[in-house]
């Protein structure tokens, strides 16, 4: 098993994009930022964090927790899709494709919200449910998936997700477009 901090070093752009996505949504919803670490390759603990002003609103909590999932997945897809056709369909090889592919996949690998993000979301969803917000019920399977995803990250679930977004999705999309 490869230690987490080595993976963090190897995929550091993804961590920076992940934390910046949290930050972006905090700012979007007008929440104060108490502390930020964009990247800290430590042996224990998170490789980055954003501590923000607490909020009782469900929407901001949801988007702050899931923002990296959207942003990282989007960047992973766009970056990988740009080199997918030349490699997969035309068999063209260029040295630049390797760093671009690494960038795309490393961003995709950090798309999953952390357990802490899921925990925050879970707490809010429970509160919202008790106050009658039916939509909050949708969050429970998401939280469940996040926990499962983080648990399976020991079995490279994060890498498999990045491969799905960066390689499988472009394959399916091109098939859909051209057939």
């Amino acid at each position: 098993m490869i230690p987490g901090f080595i993976i963090a070093w190897l995929t550091f752009p993804g961590i920076i994009v992940h934390e910046t996505a949290h930050l972006f949504f905090c700012q979007l919803f007008g929440l104060a930022i108490l502390d930020v670490s964009y990247f800290r390759p430590v042996m224990r603990g998170p490789s980055g964090y954003v501590i923000h002003e607490p909020t009782d609103r469900f929407g901001p909590t949801f988007f702050i927790a899931c923002g990296p999932f959207l942003v990282n997945s989007l960047f992973c897809f766009l970056i990988c899709f740009s080199i997918f056709l030349p490699i997969r369909f035309f068999g063209v090889d260029h040295w630049l494709f390797w760093p671009i592919g690494w960038l795309g996949l490393s961003i995709g690998m950090h798309a999953f919200p952390s357990n802490q993000d899921a925990y925050n979301l879970w707490g809010h969803a429970k509160k919202q449910m008790s106050s009658g917000n039916i939509l909050a019920v949708l969050v429970f399977p998401i939280v469940f998936l996040v926990y499962i995803g983080n648990l399976l990250s020991m079995l490279w679930a994060d890498l498999f997700y990045a491969v799905f977004i960066g390689l499988v999705l472009p394959e399916l999309m091109t098939k859909w477009i051209f057939n």
Binding site: V17, F81, I83
Partner: protein, 308 residues
């Protein structure tokens, strides 16, 4: 900064360095000693907590003297820090990092967009050329696609293939042969070998190598034994040999193969076969070897859309 005395050791400390343990104000070390003696279940958030000095900014440590800072997110925060937290500014390196990511993403998409265009053109060329049979338009589209991505070998091969087919239609056998020679790796379904034969006997005809023209025509006929045109092609080759060498035997062979071709011709083949037959008979009659263009010019007949 506010100070207070530790109730245990009697020393004076800043308020931020003191803790409240079971309602007693203690310094860190005295507090730890007290906690060691306490029962685990007595220790709660309410019974043990750090004291906070409202005159010291919790973020930057600025000392307000006697003036208390406003509490923000349950902490005393100075005006500057409050502004920095509310109006968080991204560090320059993060801005640079994201600019880099965006530039890479946009440039990569823009630079590789030609592959997307090439793929669309290629799909159109395949549909137009192979399904609708419009080779001319298909060739143009495939060439355009191949020019967009010169490094894509498979696409270049397909482009050569269509250009070869187009060249055959234009009666430019040498050009067709040059293109087909670059298409060896295409699957059998593309019939490259057969097209090469057509181009080769076209070249042989153009170079007046009629014996070779005959040999290649026989080889071609063997690939399509039921088609009347390849059979007529053999007749055409014998007609050329007759015109050049004046051997009666060649004329007889030409008529013999023309007869076989006629037998093979189905009602669907009649039109193109008849046209070809007339040209061969004209060659036998006049002993002049004309290509299709010259033949139609000389006889004043209308050139059909498709000629062999």
């Amino acid at each position: 900064m506010r100070e207070q005395i530790c109730e245990q050791c009697g020393n004076k400390y800043g308020l931020n360095d003191l803790v409240s343990v079971f309602d007693s104000t203690l310094c860190q070390s005295c507090g730890e000693k007290r906690l060691k003696d306490a029962e685990q279940d007595q220790i709660t958030d309410q019974s043990v907590f750090s004291l906070s000095d409202p005159t010291i900014c919790a973020r930057c440590g600025a000392d307000g003297g006697n003036q208390e800072f406003e509490f923000f997110v349950e902490m005393p925060i100075c005006e500057n820090c409050r502004d920095a937290m509310v109006n968080y500014r991204y560090p320059a390196w993060i801005k640079g990092f994201f600019a880099g990511i965006l530039i890479i993403t946009i440039c990569s998409i823009a630079w590789n967009f030609r592959f997307f265009q090439a793929r669309i053109l290629m799909e159109q060329a395949i549909r137009i050329g192979f399904v609708q049979g419009n080779v001319d338009t298909a060739t143009k589209k495939m060439s355009k696609a191949a020019n967009l991505v010169p490094g894509a070998h498979g696409l270049q091969v397909l482009s050569h293939y269509l250009e070869g087919v187009q060249a055959i239609r234009d009666d430019d056998s040498q050009t067709a042969l040059n293109h087909f020679q670059k298409c060896n790796e295409l699957p059998e379904s593309y019939q490259v070998e057969q097209y090469m034969l057509i181009a080769e006997f076209g070249v042989a005809f153009d170079n007046k190598e009629y014996q070779r023209f005959l040999e290649l025509s026989i080889k071609y006929r063997d690939s399509f034994p039921d088609d009347p045109i390849p059979e007529a092609q053999i007749a055409s080759a014998y007609a050329c040999l007759y015109a050049e060498e004046k051997k009666q035997e060649c004329k007889e062979k030409a008529m013999e193969h023309l007869q076989i071709a006629e037998e093979k011709a189905t009602p669907d083949d009649q039109k193109r076969f008849e046209e070809y037959r007339e040209r061969i008979l004209y060659r036998l009659e006049t002993r002049r070897i004309l290509n299709s263009e010259e033949y139609y010019k000389e006889t004043g007949k209308v050139l059909p859309e498709e000629t062999q």
